[in-house]
Symmetry: D2
Subunit: 285 residues, 4 copies
């Protein structure tokens, strides 16, 4: 039955996904974007920004692991992590699960995202708010990057919203300038990861553009994709570094590091899932 | 753009109306029915019961006048009005605008409707809650009718929900027994009005059944229809009485009584609108 | 169940009407507009132009009578009728039912409409194609009006599509120039009728603009509205003339002329329906 | 814009996927099921049975490879393949690409599927219709299996529709009896593959039941999942055999056999994709 209340995902003009909702828990706008928290039947609480789904209670852990774990599994020793965007907390939460992570800075321009998710979607944050290694800043990522000393981070995770529509808060970040500034603050051998939109048989065009941006700045770049049910498509990610080894850990190494980090029994991630993320169909590579 | 949040009216399985919503203000259930108050773009606040629209901020006055004013315009002198259902208040509100109305009893089984509309849709109630002539009871209409003395009311307005689905709180009311009990409590020459579902070129089947029920119990019955934008169709009403004059006031009489009641400048109702309500296409009469 | 195939009406961005469809019988485009003929569950075959419903098997007769009969009922003697737009045939069909009508010219720029409706919706045309009084032309209405002698028609019916979107074939017709050209070809006391979009509690803005255009050119103008189920709203019409009597026939006259024309037993139209069309709520007059 | 015509997938009552359609190319019903061929914007021509998407022009090759190639890659020498269901042809097409395949029998109860796809979706069949190794039968799979000699096939691919709703043509096939009959016609070491519905973080319940059916009959069973954009979810498959080696080919073997079969340059499948299909998140294994 269509009867009832629904949220319609704004992603694709020719393929519409309607989520049955139980309630609108929050609806508001900051100076940067419109923000909703919806209670959906299929995916629990869902954060929506400018009409697009960002994180759902039921499967946000799949996304958060995919963007966070691969770069952290490729290294050992004290690791400094910068998250641009990411004001909803779950990327920081995942990074802080790694004991070697010494510091996590989240730089998201919009304090509303943080306020709303801390209150209505606390599972996104988990134990992170009480963790002394975490710093959350609300300022423009470009400006913050500019002011940082060179080589101040080992991993930069770009978890910004999609640049759909001129009004998107992250529109200006999809540029060579943004990538160059990220590269400058990375220590040698550091890794940059970016959420990179749909990557599937049906659509890989946006992904290709972002892959090009990162591939132009770093010596090596790899694409991966993970199906996110609440998005309705496989989300793409680009991992880039000047050090090829930082982008590709052998199976035994991944397993050993998961054990060392106390993450060996995770329900959603292991060495096989890690390998499968990168096993794109030949045409999409 | 379909993007956003929507309420889908459950009325017609082959013609779906989606209302863009700004927020879900209330979503809950009593032991009788599911109740929602939605903030819609087109119609303002909308009361929804069991998935069907009941009253919208923008056009509820059209419905409330259509069901209330005709029987009150056909009579003079102290008038006692019983509303079965009607727990959302606007039928009572309209009845109380007539100075000749001496008493209005609303008998709606579900206190949740009254509580939610008093709080979130106070415009439905207007000045009624402070009016000493009003009594609101929450009990089964059949039982209440049974316990009343004969001839205790001059007008009975049946404003119950549609009997769609076995679970409807009003399902058992669509019966000969219900109509006979109403007739018993009406004084001689009294009028019974019933909201009577869609009445249009597209669908008049439910209306026909209800018209038959009332036509079997009273000597005279007339149908009327008024387009309610938030329903998406012309709502039908049946007015029945043993006194034909109570169902059909001449134009001059209507105008005179509107003046006498201080309702001559109403934006939605006058003698022409009154006549037009009853001017159904020949096939639908 | 939403499952299945649907047509979504493009009219209102905040209130979407979905029609369940059985099949797409035609989908194509002329140089002027996109044209579809859909087989819908609720309304039978439906003509859609540029995404908006134009005429449905089940209720087209209501629309066609409302735009055609009132001006023809107000006069006697040989009547020459010009229809601008109207390439789907049903306005011509209704005009030709009046024996006094001497001639009907349909001037619609788009031959595709005529071809598709003649083939797939022959009920729109009825007996009209074999009627010697009918002439169908496919050219721009503005140019055709320009070339006509003054006072060559008694009734002009503007049945053009809504001016939604720059691409609409009729966009340039909503102008003072168009109305002045119509007035010039009308004989003294002639009537101009225009379909004039939604006219309801919910929306009357477009109607108001068109009413203004006609009201500026003619001494008298009246608005009417008729609920068209397949549109989901009451369609507005404006009737304009320099002769007030041509816009308002008394009940007895209407009944007499329906009898004289052999239309006394029509299922959708009689003198009461005629009066009710004009009985708008005071606020909408 | 929602405006236009849409097909709404009937799969999930709480998550609705609407495909914009250009046209309905076929809509009909056999004695077994309703069948549509729709021309969609995103996926080209789409076969729909009983309201559910079956195969789309744009991504059918992903599904067809996933169900067909793994069992054929695990063996060498003359191979006899039985497809139950599969009347749309693409599983047979993929099987016939392997030179070692000696015979393919498709046994689908409904000749309408075959007729409609041969005419409107010939890409599903490719060169198969002219291949002498192919036999297409239209009879009940249960009865056909019953009448076969034991050990007459090496691979059985169950490509039947989902058992949603009592009316499904395949409902009676989801049973121990069906699986036992398949096992009886398999030669020693043979493989049975079954399409096994959604397998994702969001839903794995149906898949689990089918996995249980096959796991009860064979010594070994493995699950895999491949995202099918036109379904909107990862489709699950179960591969079962008494010979564990038939279910798991090492990377080098897969690559060697793809080369031997002339399939080394396929755009959608290689040894990495093969491995990734089986790399389910630990919780879903």
């Amino acid at each position: 039955m269509l009867d009832g209340t629904w949220y319609c995902d704004g992603w694709d003009p020719n393929l519409k996904i309607l989520h049955r909702i139980r309630a609108t828990l929050f609806e508001g706008a900051s100076e940067y974007q419109r923000v909703q928290v919806l209670d959906t039947h299929e995916f629990g609480r869902l954060l929506v920004i400018d009409g697009l789904p960002q994180a759902a209670e039921r499967d946000e852990g799949v996304y958060a692991r995919a963007i966070t774990w691969p770069p952290l599994l490729s290294r050992r020793g004290p690791t400094r992590v910068l998250v641009t965007g990411g004001g909803d907390g779950h990327v920081a939460r995942e990074a802080l699960r790694f004991p070697d992570v010494a510091r996590v800075v989240v730089c998201d321009i919009d304090p509303l995202i943080t306020r709303v998710t801390r209150e209505l979607m606390p599972f996104l944050w988990g134990e992170a708010p009480g963790d002394r290694r975490l710093e959350v800043r609300h300022e423009d990522a470009l400006a913050y990057l500019q002011g940082l000393p060179a080589a101040s981070f080992d991993v930069v995770i770009s978890d910004i919203t999609d640049p759909s529509g001129e009004g998107s808060a992250s529109h200006h970040l999809y540029s060579d300038d943004y990538v160059r500034r990220i590269k400058r603050v990375l220590a040698p051998g550091g890794v940059c990861v970016a959420q990179a939109q749909e990557l599937s048989v049906k659509d890989a065009s946006y992904h290709g553009r972002l892959r090009g941006l990162l591939g132009g700045a770093f010596a090596h770049a790899r694409s991966a994709a993970v199906f996110i049910p609440s998005f309705g498509y496989p989300e793409g990610f680009v991992y880039a570094s000047d050090d090829a080894a930082a982008l590709s850990a052998p199976r035994a190494v991944v397993t050993a590091r998961l054990h060392a980090a106390g993450l060996a029994d995770d329900p959603w991630f292991d060495a096989d899932v890690y390998a499968a993320m990168f096993a794109l169909p030949p045409r999409l590579r």
